[in-house]
């Protein structure tokens, strides 16, 4: 029996001479992310692939140009991408306590015509998916956020966001693992440590994990 096929268009772009980007889609979508993770896993098994990292809806592939050409790998990726991904194991569920007293909570509420308490309730309602771990050590892009909370990033990023800040921007939410500059809206904070350098792997979250926030006091 031929393997089941599905209609997925993949666009492949070079990223220099030793990497390429395989883009499955440009929307924030759990099914696309599942496909990206499956494609990255399949590519990681190839000898000519050094590493394959799933993004939200794309896979970044670093390869050995001595073993395969860009074009041949692009063809292989198009073939692999049409395969239906295996049914995904549900990711580990993390419950994260949040003190909702962020400096942007009032502004977010005002902007969206809500009371601050409604922002807290809406943010804590879904079980979010970890779409991608990256940017800085331990950072996880999580979503999708309820439409009622969707806002563009701050026009002027903060030069310093404290570690543990729980933030939202666009259709996503995240937690700053380190004190760093940042342009997301800060609605709360958590004491959970997201990155333990001496654990292996050091990041608490992995791509595909599920995260539920709940309101806590100190």
């Amino acid at each position: 029996m031929p393997p089941p096929r599905s209609r997925v268009r993949v666009r492949v772009y070079p990223l220099g001479d030793t990497a390429l980007l395989a883009e499955l889609g440009t929307r924030l979508d759990t099914a696309l992310n599942t496909r990206a993770i499956a494609l990255a896993a399949a590519l990681q098994k190839r000898r000519d692939v050094r590493r394959a990292v799933a993004g939200h809806g794309a896979v970044t592939v670093q390869f050995d140009p001595d073993q395969i050409s860009h074009d041949a790998l692009a063809s292989a990726i198009r073939r692999l991408a049409t395969k239906r991904p295996p049914v995904e194991e549900p990711g580990r569920l993390h419950r994260i306590p949040v003190v909702y007293d962020g400096p942007d909570l009032e502004a977010v509420a005002r902007e969206r015509g809500l009371a601050p308490q409604q922002v807290v309730e809406i943010h804590g309602r879904p079980i979010y998916r970890v779409f991608l771990v990256g940017f800085v050590p331990g950072w996880a892009y999580m979503g999708p956020l309820a439409d009622e909370l969707v806002l563009p990033r701050r026009a002027i990023p903060r030069t310093r966001v404290p570690a543990g800040s729980v933030a939202i921007a666009g259709q996503e939410t995240g937690i700053y693992p380190f004190a760093s500059p940042g342009g997301w809206h800060l609605i709360g904070r958590t004491s959970v440590r997201l990155f333990l350098p001496d654990s292996d792997p050091p990041s608490l979250f992995r791509t595909g994990d599920r995260v539920k926030f709940f309101a806590a006091s100190e």
């Binding site: 070079p14 990223l15 220099g16 030793t18 883009e23």
Partner: protein
């Protein structure tokens, strides 16, 4: 093990580096590693090490190091005027230090980053599979920080020590004076309006003071590339990102692992050693090239390194 070198003065920014920790990407940890991998690998090969052994990466102003025991070393990359006991020392050539000899540096004559390899390979803290120093997380190398006065640098016992005097022939050393970076158009390059695309590939940019091992902010033409936000995806060293302000950023070894700014170009692997040798204030120019040409350049560099393997 007897330490090989003692740090008398650390220089501006001297860190332990190897070829990095690519497998830590899944935790959001940058791959890191030597910025100029050609110079790093050449230094190792000149003293009989594997290409990936740890070296010291010295930035702009080199350290003062005293040999605690006799050792074979090599200094490659930037010409920061290396000296032994105040007499000029050779670049791109293996040479012996006797116990008590002092390796020091003078003025910056070309490039930005010099590499010091010690026969046997420098031994330092390994974190997530690599001895490279990760300054953000403060792990790897010398306790995750740059060298300090009084640090002792250990090296492994060499298996097989080549004679001193092995050298990279002049014609095979990289030309760091030419700041042309060959690049291939990136996934979102089509967003650039025509004038901006011309500016990206045909005008000069200056490396801003706000630049480091993570990346170089570039000052020059402001580039216009209208379009929707990009969902974050995995990044590579050499990527030229364009934030909404229109000022490009060239990602280097300690780059963020993922990002959502459009990528307009990616510097080819053979041009990254030149990129690694730029300092704030230097001018650079991107020139669009093909994958075929990039692979030829890559092959030429590899042949130069292969010629050092005895």
């Amino acid at each position: 093990m007897t330490p090989a070198l003692r740090v008398v003065a650390p220089g501006l920014l001297t860190t332990v580096q190897d070829l990095g920790r690519p497998h830590a990407l899944a935790s959001g940890v940058s791959p890191g590693g030597a910025m100029d991998r050609f110079a790093h690998s050449a230094a190792n090969l000149l003293v009989g090490n594997e290409r990936g052994a740890a070296t010291l990466e010295c930035t702009l102003r080199g350290p003062r190091l005293v040999a605690e025991r006799p050792c074979l070393i090599a200094v490659t990359g930037a010409d920061l005027e290396p000296r032994v006991n105040e007499a000029a020392a050779p670049l791109w050539t293996g040479f012996e230090l006797e116990a008590g000899d002092e390796l020091s540096f003078g003025a910056r004559r070309s490039g930005t980053r010099a590499y010091i390899a010690v026969a046997g390979g420098i031994l330092a803290e390994r974190w997530l599979g690599s001895m490279s120093t990760n300054l953000l997380v403060a792990r790897g190398g010398m306790h995750g920080r740059p060298l300090r006065e009084g640090d002792m640098i250990s090296a492994d016992e060499p298996h097989e020590r080549p004679p001193a005097g092995q050298t990279v022939p002049e014609q095979l050393r990289p030309g760091y004076a030419d700041h042309t970076l060959h690049a291939i158009a990136g996934p979102q390059a089509d967003r650039l309006v025509k004038e901006s695309r011309d500016s990206l590939f045909n005008t000069s940019f200056q490396v801003s003071p706000d630049s480091n091992r993570m990346g170089y902010r570039l000052v020059g033409a402001t580039l216009e590339a209208p379009g929707e936000e990009v969902l974050s995806f995995g990044l590579v060293a050499g990527a030229v990102q364009l934030p909404s302000g229109g000022r490009p950023i060239l990602l280097m070894a300690d780059h963020q692992t993922a990002g959502g700014y459009p990528v307009m170009a990616v510097v080819v692997s053979a041009s990254m050693p030149v990129a690694a040798q730029l300092a704030p204030g230097d001018e650079l120019r991107f020139v669009e090239t093909s994958i075929e040409r990039a692979l030829q350049m890559r092959e030429a560099q590899r042949a130069a390194l292969d010629a050092l393997v005895t």
